[in-house]
């Protein structure tokens, strides 16, 4: 058990916790946080496992850097969408509203610049 392998196992643990949260939690922000947790787990696996097999390796570090940028972009987009969605519908979950008003209710919210 090298320290690198420990990172990889910690990454798998984070992924599991994140996945549990992602599936079980309904609140959108919590889901988003769970997504970020899974992401961190994947990055840990990526660096840890590669170092365990091949020794210190710059390639996965560069990949993780790119991965973090992608994750931030995705998180930013998700936060904007969640905020807008909350403004329009007053909801923080993806639960469908009662039948019949799922398009009518939203018409009233005049669309400003997104």
């Amino acid at each position: 058990m090298t320290p690198s392998l420990l990172y990889a196992f910690a990454g798998v643990g984070l992924c599991t916790i994140g996945l549990y949260g992602f599936v079980r939690l309904a609140h959108l922000l919590r889901k988003l946080l769970a997504f970020n947790l899974i992401g961190s787990g994947v990055f840990l696996v990526m660096v840890g496992l590669a170092q365990h097999h091949n020794g210190p390796d710059p390639v996965p570090q560069a990949l993780v850097l790119t991965g973090i940028v992608v994750a931030i972009a995705a998180t930013a987009l998700a936060v904007v969408l969640i905020r807008r969605y909350f403004h329009l519908s007053g909801q923080t979950t993806l639960a469908e509203p009662a039948r019949g008003n799922d398009e009518g209710a939203s018409q009233s919210g005049e669309d400003r610049q997104r």
């Binding site: 990889a8 696996v45 996965p60 995705a74 018409q107 610049q113």
Partner: protein, 489 residues
């Protein structure tokens, strides 16, 4: 010269995205028309290069493989680049007339459209597994933005659901890539395939393949992971739905197919292939049935996408551990299915958009009487339906015929039931729309007439999809182009 073509394919969409971000919708329209023409030209240019000299690997910026990003330009990639140019060009043209320039937020359509196109080209040409991930994310994020363009709570809910599913799918794929890198110390798909072929790698745990395929199947909306697709594709603006159904779901499928074809013999297994095929078969039946039951017109078309995607997954059982000829047959069937579905489904969504614009309601039963006022759009819808049903001479027929032959030749006769029953069910949901449109018992005789070009575009796409069966040979010959002897430039 090849440098300019590659730059044209990858750099111009990004440049155009930035350019159109700076302008409003009306100016963006002119810029984008120019960009679409440019993209069509470079795509044809790439095709000309590859038919003349064979496929090649292209190191981006001159950096060689382990350090730089290598692109893989072969017949299959060129086929998809050309398909993208046709379908995205048509959708862009349609959108430029369909979207209302008065709504200020529609100006974001063009940047998102161009980012999407850039991501698609990256995926078709990518050979580096991590770069494919970046391409996929670029596609997902811009596609989610396009869905949210509707601006209402319903559209945002669909967009959020789509975003969450897409992000989770990407992470599963990335986890697979991380494990793969840990195992091989390489990210190049062809490099890993080479290592596997050489035989000096100990057995690879199947979990890597399962993780990657699970993630990609989620992004492709394979049954039972398809729940996010119908709301997103149904609620988006029609040109956006057309783009999403025709191209975006194909991107993740394309990666799955590439990974499977290159490494499946070593990293996959019989059970995994059969499982994917069975899920595909279930998608065909269940998706068609749900399409038949929908009340809203665009939901019918969206569920039909779930069904048609199912056919693609027959590729996995039909290429695992079979003879070379059967595998080639299955691959040809898959390629034709992708092309014909892309053309037919974009035609169908655009035509459905015209019909909805005309009757002012998105319900199937509101179509009553429209057959006399908008026969052209309805005809395009029907022609596209013919291809989805798989009637000759459409591309859908040729695709299903090849898949059928491959299943018989490999002794997997049980896929026949899927192919036959799926065709019948798709006929049922197409005819249901027709029946509704021919009902005469209605007091409404005021129909809005869309712009003439809006009706011509789906017609062109539907005719292409119908004619694909007649020109299947030349299309497949592009796909079959192998690598040139030298391998390099």
């Amino acid at each position: 010269m090849i440098l300019w073509v590659m730059a044209g394919l990858l750099f111009t969409p990004l440049a155009w995205a930035v350019l159109t971000l700076l302008t409003g919708f009306r100016h963006g329209r002119w810029i984008s028309w120019l960009g679409i023409v440019l993209q069509a030209l470079v795509s044809v240019g790439l095709w000309a290069f590859v038919t003349r000299d064979g496929g090649f690997y292209y190191p981006l910026g001159g950096w060689q493989s382990p350090l730089g990003i290598e692109l893989r330009v072969d017949g299959l990639a060129v086929t998809f680049v050309l398909l993208t140019a046709v379908v995205a060009g048509a959708c862009g043209w349609h959108a430029s007339l369909y979207l209302d320039p008065e709504k200020s937020w529609h100006r974001y359509f063009w940047p998102l459209f161009w980012f999407l196109w850039a991501g698609l080209n990256v995926v078709w040409l990518g050979d580096d597994l991590f770069n494919l991930y970046v391409g996929l994310e670029l596609i997902s994020l811009s596609a989610v933005g396009l869905v949210a363009l509707g601006g209402q709570a319903g559209a945002l809910r669909a967009a959020l659901r789509y975003l969450l599913a897409a992000l989770l799918g990407s992470l599963f794929y990335l986890l697979g890539v991380a494990l793969l890198y840990g195992q091989f110390g390489s990210l190049s798909l062809s490099g890993i395939a080479g290592l596997l072929e050489s035989g000096d790698v100990e057995s690879v745990p199947v979990v890597i393949m399962v993780l990657m395929l699970f993630g990609l199947a989620m992004k492709t909306a394979l049954f039972p992971l398809h729940k996010w697709l119908p709301p997103a594709h149904g609620i988006a603006k029609s040109p956006v739905s057309a783009l999403l159904s025709a191209l975006v779901v194909k991107a993740s499928f394309y990666i799955a197919a590439r990974v499977w074809l290159e490494t499946g013999h070593h990293m996959g297994g019989y059970a995994l292939g059969q499982l994917l095929g069975a899920l595909g078969g279930a998608a065909v039946i269940w998706g068609s049935w749900l399409a038949f039951r929908q009340e809203k017109l665009k939901q019918v078309v969206a569920y039909s996408s779930v069904a048609q995607i199912g056919y693609l997954f027959l590729l996995f059982p039909l290429t695992w551990n079979v003879s070379e000829t059967i595998s080639v047959q299955a691959q040809q069937g898959m390629t034709l299915q992708v092309i014909s579905h892309a053309l037919a489904k974009s035609a169908m969504f655009l035509a459905a958009g015209n019909l909805i614009l005309s009757v002012g309601s998105n319900r199937v039963d509101a179509l009553a009487g429209v057959s006399r006022f908008l026969p052209f759009s309805l005809f395009s819808f029907g022609l596209a339906g013919v291809s989805l049903m798989g009637l000759p001479p459409s591309g859908g027929f040729a695709a299903k015929w090849l898949l059928l032959q491959a299943s018989l030749a490999s002794g997997q006769w049980w896929w026949l039931a899927v192919l036959l029953f799926g065709g019948l069910l798709s006929a049922a949901y197409v005819f249901r729309v027709y029946r509704a449109s021919f009902v005469e018992k209605t007091d409404v005789d005021e129909f809005y007439h869309p712009h003439r070009s809006l009706e011509v575009i789906p017609m062109i796409l539907a005719l292409l999809s119908l004619g694909l069966g007649l020109v299947a040979e030349p299309v497949l010959s592009v796909m079959a182009i192998s690598f040139s002897e030298g391998g390099g430039l």
